[in-house]
Structure formats: C-alpha cells, structure tokens
C-alpha cells in the first residue's frame, strides 16, 4: 500500500513539475496581472513538488525500515539483520533510491529558489520564476527516468523471506552521509544551471544575475567539498590501503564538478563585483552541472567501466544518455545562440593582468585546465576502446603528473590575490608587505624539512606553499580588519568566508605534503607475541580471533602499542555471508600528530589446514598473520582542511551581496532593479 501510494505521489509530482515548467516559461511571453498569477502558480508548483517527492521518499524509507521484502529495491539492498542506520542508508545505497534522493534534492533547491518576496514586476522576480521553471523542466526529465526505467517501488510476485543485503563496503557511517552531501552539491549546481538557462532565455546576464546565483554556487560547492572529503575519508579507512585519493573514475567524476565549481564561485564573484567575465561565467555554470550529470550518471550507465558501477540495463543507460544529451546540448545551443548575438553579454570592463580580476582569471584558467585534464584521463580509455585499440588503464601516474603541476601554481597566487585591488595593481607595495611572511615560510620550511632528507624536495615545496597560503591569508585578513577586533567583526561575510576557505586550502596542503613526506609503511609477518619497533612505537601482536558481528563474522587481530601498551589496534577482515563479500576494516588510532594504521593480511598458510575455512580448530594463539602497518603524520589535516573550506563557503553564502531585492534587505527593490550597478558599486568600493 505504502509502495503504491508513494509511486502515485511520484506521478503526481511529474504532473506538477510539468505545470511548474509550463507556467514559468509562459512568463517569457506574458506580463501584467496575468504574470502575477503565472508567477504564483510556478512557485506554488515548486512547493507542491517538494511536498510530493518528500512524501514518496519517506515512503521508501518506511519500506526499508519495516524490511518489506515484497519490494524489489528492498530485497536487493537490505536484510532484516542489518543495523537500523544502514536500513535507512540502504534507501539511497542503490540506483533507484539514489535517483529518488536526487529528485528530492532537486525539488528542495527548486523550492528554495522559489521562496522570497520580490516585486513581481522586477527583473529579479522574472529571473527567479524562469529559474524555477527550468528547475521544473529538469524535474520532469528525472521523474520520467525514475518512473519510466527505475521505479523504486516495484513489487515482487513471490517475496523472499529475507533480502540480499546492502554491499557491505557501503555499510559505514561516513558513506551513509556521503551520497546525500554529494547530491546536495551536484544538484545545487542544477540551480546555478537553471539560473544560467533562465539568464540566457531572458537575455539579461549582468551583475544582478551573478548576485542571485552566487549563494547557490557557494552552498553547492560547500556540500560537494564535504561530500568528497567524506568519500575520501571512507576510502582511507575502509579500503584498507592507507591512501586517501585513488583517481578512480568514480572519484574523478566528483572531482570534475568540484574543480569547475571552484572556478565558477570565483568567476561569479568577479561578475557580481565588476560585471566582468559574464559570458565565461554563464558557460561555466552550464559546464559545472553538465559535469555533475556526467559524474552521477555516466559512471553508472555502464559506459565507463569502474568496479563501483551500478548495474544497468541498456534501455536505462540509453534513457540516461538521452536525458543528459538533451539537457547539456540544449543549454549549450541556447548559450551559442545568445552569445553570438552582438551586445547580448555585458562588455568586459578593462583590467590589467596584475589586478584582482587578472588573478581570478589565472585561477579560472588553471582550474578549468585541471578539470579538462581529469576529464581527458577519465574518458581516454573509453576513446581507445571505441577506436578498437586495446584498453589501457589511466592511473595515478597520469593524474599526478598533470593535475599537480596545474594546481600548484594556484597556491602562491592564492595568498597574494586578495591583496590586489580591482582593475590594476602594482606588485611592489605588495612585495614589501609580504616580505615577512615569505621569510618566515622559508625559514620554517628549512628548519622543518631540510635536515630530514633532501630527496623529499617536492613534499617540502608543498609544505612551504601550505604555510605561505596560511600566513598570507591571515596577513590579508588582519590588514583588512585594521589589526583590530572591531574591524575584524565588521568585515563582510564573503570576506570572512573567503579567509576561512583559503585557510582551509592551506591546512589541506600541509596535510597532503606532511603525510607524503613522513609516512612510514611496513608489511610484515607476525606470530602472536611478536613485537616490532615501528614509527616510534613498540608494536606487539597479541594474536587473532574470530568475532561475530550483527550481519558478519570477522577475523580480528589485536595489536598493542605505546608505553604500557595503552594503544589497542583491532583490525578486522569481515565476511558478510548474505552479500558473499569480504571487507577489510583497518584499525586507526590518532595520536595527536598522525594516524597509526593497521590492516590484517592473510593467516600464515604453514600453520593452517588449507581445505578448511580460515581460522578453524587450529588454536588461534599459534597462527601467524601478515600485517600491514602504516603511520601517516598530519593526514587528518586533509579532511580538517576540507571541512574548513566548506565552512568558509557557507559563511560567504550568508553575505548580503547575494540577498537580492528582498523587501527585508532594506533597499527598495524597484530602485535596485532600475539601477542595478550603483547598488553594488558602492559595496565594491566599501571594501
């Protein structure tokens, strides 16, 4: 009953989405009193859609909670013995459910754009309503995909007594949160895409467009940052390899929209402040969402081969391809049509190479190049196979050799750029200001890294760059604050957010460089009672035993380390009988400086009868195991830095700059609509 009702809610949502798109797009033609009615209809449709999709999603969660094994999705992804949180997470741990989550987040952003009181005749209101309409169009497409080819509420004629369990690798707290956050990012860029298409349709792409869009860019970017960081953290401790980034196609798929989105949030800033780079910013907004679509859907359509891929039948893959194709080429055709009309885009105010604009163009060029390089590396194996050449796997060597040289030059500029005035700047006063931090960075780097080992030059350079970013950013913030607390508190939210995000970048770079320079790594065979000196610890292996989890059995090794053996490491190898899968659970202990990381390898065959399951009647106290010990100093800074970056993004999103023409903001909306440039020009001058 709940399944059928939820299914029906989705169909209703599709109808409402059609209304939302229709009435909103009609606003391109109608005006006056009629326009008011159309506007209201569009916005109310957006709220209604949110309510309907929320209802359907709640229905699916309920089906997972009560383990209704007459529903195919539940059978394939749940099990009655699974812990409660993973029953809920199972809702979006599969193709159908995650697509429903996608539609829900899309509806959420659509309703968020629709909200707010604006003068209905103003350009802001028109931009908002047409954007909501484009949201409606996107919802139509994805609801058709959901209802037509991926119905999460399909029933089974003969329900089995129990389910097939969620992929055990996905039964993890970080990964339960990872998809919702990632989707918040991906779909947030759907809003900026909708703004871009609406701007192109209305033919008005000025600084007010950028101000209306900016908040969504920042929110989406912050969510995507945290989502990627959680995914990386999960890979770090769940895959048991001790790495935090693997250049897997699925990871690249989330990195590409992040790189494009990072470029976008900087170019939107230039556009909001100076009305420059309009054409590029609009294009970037379209491309960022296109890459998000590529990320979520092409990876799982079976086109790109990855071990993470969800299984898909060819019809569904084709449908997804057509949906993405129509969305992306439609928007790009609109862009081509509008941008090729002379005078359609605001003229770029002139600026010198060394200026705030110049530095942000540098940022955009490098980020876009890095994004293109990742795209190339991800699609290259596919292209080779299309040409009938033998398949190759493009791995970390390619990405490390191409992406790092493109990203590294951003760092020295990142510390300087916020000091530069708009239009034109001179470097010499800046050089004087930055003499002290530069000196501090050089001395610190020499002290910290040089005596260690000269061959780690790359890591020391990275370390120096991280310090430079942190010191430069702090200097810049102090100077803007006039070295006074009262001044610091008065800084606009976007300044505070930028400072925080840039500090986050510095922290992350320190983590990357530090963990690369000082990690230690050892694979060894240990019998119970064996002890080894590792990374300043005396590590003793106490033996392995079999333990029983709620829906798995595991071999659990016990290691003790530190003075008085107070650190206990319990790495596991788990066996999930229902899903027929083995997983590795690394044991990780943070000692305030780095992570002590242990994984359990194989039992020593010499002591084990081979025709028996692992660890049987042999006394476990006598079995030796191979163990992988690692120590990763400062690696937590990578995730801490990501979190600080995301926090900065959210803080910046609160800026008044993005609060456009609302009655609450204190300015008269019509005055602003008539003279959009003066209203922001004084904000720009105020800094």
């Amino acid at each position: 009953m709940i399944a059928e009702l939820s299914h029906f809610l989705l169909i209703l949502a599709l109808v409402i989405a059609l209304v939302q798109a229709g009435t909103g797009l009609a606003l391109l033609r109608v005006g006056g009193d009629q326009a008011l009615a159309y506007s209201l209809a569009t916005r109310r449709a957006a709220y209604g859609q949110l309510a309907l999709v929320t209802g359907a999603f709640a229905g699916l969660i309920y089906l997972f909670l009560v383990s209704d094994f007459s529903v195919i999705t539940v059978v394939q992804n749940s099990h009655s013995a699974k812990p409660l949180i993973y029953k809920i997470a199972g809702t979006w741990g599969n193709h159908e459910g995650s697509l429903l989550l996608w539609v829900l987040v899309l509806a959420l952003f659509g309703a968020a754009v629709a909200r707010g009181t604006l003068d209905p005749d103003s350009h802001h209101a028109k931009l908002r309503d047409v954007t909501v309409a484009v949201h409606g169009l996107l919802s139509v497409g994805f609801l058709l995909l959901l209802i037509g080819t991926s119905n999460p509420f399909g029933r089974l004629a003969e329900p089995p007594i129990d389910g097939q369990d969620l992929n055990p690798l996905l039964q993890d707290p970080a990964l339960a949160l990872h998809p919702p956050l990632l989707y918040l990012g991906y779909v947030g860029f759907a809003s900026t895409f909708a703004f871009a298409v609406a701007g192109l349709l209305l033919g008005r792409m000025d600084r007010d467009w950028a101000r209306a869009t900016g908040r969504y860019v920042l929110i989406a970017w912050a969510a995507l940052t945290v989502g990627i960081a959680l995914g990386s953290w999960w890979a770090y401790y769940e895959l048991g390899w001790g790495g935090w980034w693997f250049w897997d196609p699925v990871e690249n798929a989330s990195l590409m929209p992040w790189l494009a989105g990072t470029a976008l949030l900087h170019s939107v800033h230039v556009m909001a402040k100076r009305q420059a780079l309009a054409s590029w910013t609009i294009l970037l907004a379209i491309l960022t969402f296109s890459l998000s679509l590529l990320g979520t859907f092409l990876v799982r359509s079976g086109v790109l081969t990855s071990v993470h891929a969800f299984a898909l039948d060819p019809t569904r893959g084709m449908f997804i391809l057509i949906l993405i194709g129509v969305t992306v080429t439609g928007a790009l055709a609109l862009y081509g049509w509008r941008a090729s009309q002379p005078g359609s885009m605001p003229a770029n105010p002139p600026f010198a190479a060394i200026s705030r604009e110049g530095s942000l163009v540098f940022n955009n060029v490098l980020l876009a190049l890095a994004c293109a390089v990742v795209l190339l590396g991800t699609l290259y194996p596919l292209a080779l196979q299309l040409l009938g050449l033998p398949p190759v796997s493009v791995g970390p060597p390619y990405f490390e050799a191409t992406v790092i040289p493109l990203m590294a030059p951003l760092l020295p500029v990142l510390a300087i750029a916020p000091f530069l005035p708009w239009r034109a700047a001179s470097l010499s006063p800046l050089m004087r200001k930055l003499r002290v931090p530069a000196l501090v960075v050089i001395i610190l780097s020499l002290i910290i890294i040089w005596p260690d080992e000269p061959k780690r030059a790359l890591a020391s350079a990275g370390f120096a760059l991280g310090l430079w970013v942190i010191l430069g950013t702090l200097m810049q913030w102090l100077e803007r604050a006039g070295y006074r607390w009262s001044g610091a508190r008065k800084l606009p939210a976007w300044q505070q957010g930028m400072t925080l995000a840039h500090l986050g970048v510095g922290i992350m770079v320190l983590g990357i460089a530090g963990s690369a320079a000082w990690s230690s790594d050892r694979i060894l065979r240990m019998a119970p009672g064996d002890s080894v000196a590792f990374a300043g610890y005396q590590v003793t292996f106490k033996g392995a035993a079999q333990v029983q989890g709620p829906n798995y059995v595991a071999d659990q090794g016990i290691l003790r380390a530190g003075d008085g053996d107070q650190i206990i490491l319990a790495p596991e190898k788990r066996w999930y009988p229902v899903a027929q899968m083995r997983t590795t659970e690394a044991a990780i202990v943070f000692d305030g400086w780095g992570n002590l990381y242990a994984t359990l390898g194989q039992p020593d065959e010499a002591n084990l009868p081979l025709n028996q399951p692992v660890v049987t009647n042999v006394d476990p106290a006598t079995i030796a195991w191979s163990l992988h010990l690692q120590y990763h100093p400062m690696i937590v800074l990578i995730w801490l830095g990501s979190g600080v970056m995301a926090l900065g993004g959210v803080w910046a999103a609160l800026d008044r700059l993005f609060r456009l023409g609302h009655a609450k903001s204190g300015r008269r909306p019509d005055a602003q609509a008539a003279q959009p440039s003066t209203a922001t020009a004084d904000m720009g001058a105020a800094e």
């Binding site: 081969t305 039948d313 060819p314 992306v328 862009y335 596919l382 027929q580 899968m581």
Partner: protein, 198 residues
C-alpha cells in the same frame, strides 16, 4: 567578432561529439565495456577475450607447485563431450572458495564438463599451494593478478562460476559458491543443455 561568434558554438560542438561517442559506446554490439553484473544481461553473450599468465612467469620456477598454473587464454577453453565447459574464479585468500572446492572436485570427476580456473588477485605461489593442498579440479589455470579478466566477466564477488557452451557463449552463471542448492541447480542445467546438444 566573427571569430568570437564561432567560438561560442565550440562547447556545443564538443558536447555533441562526446554524446555521439557515448552513444556508440553504449549501443555497439557485443561491447564488453558495460559491466555485466546481471544474469539476464549476461546470458548468451560470448565470453570476453582474456590471456592470463602462468605461475612460472612470476619467478616461482623452483617451486614444485608451479606447473599447477600454466596460464589460460579464451582460446584455450575446450568444451567436453557434453559441449560444455566451466570457468571458475577462485583465490587462495577467499574463504567461500574453500567451501565450494569439494563440489568443484565432484564436478571434475565428470570429465565431460572440463573446469577452467582463474586465480583472481592472487600470487602464483599461493594459488599453486592452495591447489596442491586442496586438490586441483581444473584442466588449466591462469593468474589474474590485476583482475582484468574478472572485470571483463563482470565479477561481483568471489567466487563465481560460468557455464560456457561450445560456441564460447555464457549459458549460466553462479554468483557465490557452487554448493548446496546452487550445485544441484548447476547440475540440472548441465543435464538439460547436454540433452539439447545431444
């Protein structure tokens, strides 16, 4: 201005090109790009080409076990008198493989269905030691240290077994160990196909 007008169409042109490439990739007949994780998708498709190394290539030449693993390529598969052959993915580190092993040994006694083994993400010495101790049901074994063959077959977990006919097409697939009901089902299917062929 003309130059600029052309430039603004460039993103569209690239997107169309990409879309065309993806369409070809998705519709190309017998593409083995798509991961075949679904039984219905997999059935009656030819097995993907593969060529796997022998254990000796790994430099364990001195071991008395190395001739257990002499390498395996798709061309090496020969159907038995029943017109069928089995390909089994196994590994020395895989616990359920040990559960299904006696059943594989039982199947191997029926010489009309030869078994071929692929040691997934394993080392030659470990896989060979496993086969020496537990018994070797396979006519021929290859090493798949990087999981290339497993990717082509669309392996979702270990172990997996594929029933292949004389044309090299997959007729049945067992995900997980061939034991208990799966074993009975596999034997039934083998008998059916044998009667169809005979």
């Amino acid at each position: 201005m003309n130059h600029r007008r052309l430039m603004v169409w460039l993103p569209l042109a690239l997107a169309v090109l990409l879309a065309a490439g993806f369409t070809v990739a998705l519709t190309k007949p017998q593409n083995n790009l798509a991961i075949m994780t679904n039984q219905a998708v997999l059935l009656d498709l030819p097995i993907p080409p593969f060529a796997l190394a022998e254990a000796a290539a790994e430099g364990v030449d001195g071991s008395p076990h190395y001739d257990q693993i002499r390498g395996l390529a798709d061309g090496d598969l020969v159907a038995g008198s029943s017109g069928l052959a089995l390909v089994n993915f196994f590994a020395s580190w895989c616990a359920p493989c040990r559960i299904e092993h006696p059943f594989l040994m039982r199947l191997a006694r029926d010489a009309s269905v030869p078994l071929y083994g692929i040691a997934y993400r394993d080392t030659g010495i470990k896989a060979a030691a496993y086969l020496v101790d537990a018994g070797n049901p396979f006519a021929q074994v290859g090493l798949d240290p990087d999981g290339d063959a497993a990717l082509g077959f669309g392996i979702t977990g270990m172990p997996e077994t594929f029933l292949i006919d004389a044309d090299g097409r997959i007729r049945f697939r067992v995900q997980g160990p061939v034991s208990g009901p799966q074993f009975d089902q596999l034997v039934t299917i083998i008998d059916q196909l044998r009667q169809e062929a005979g």
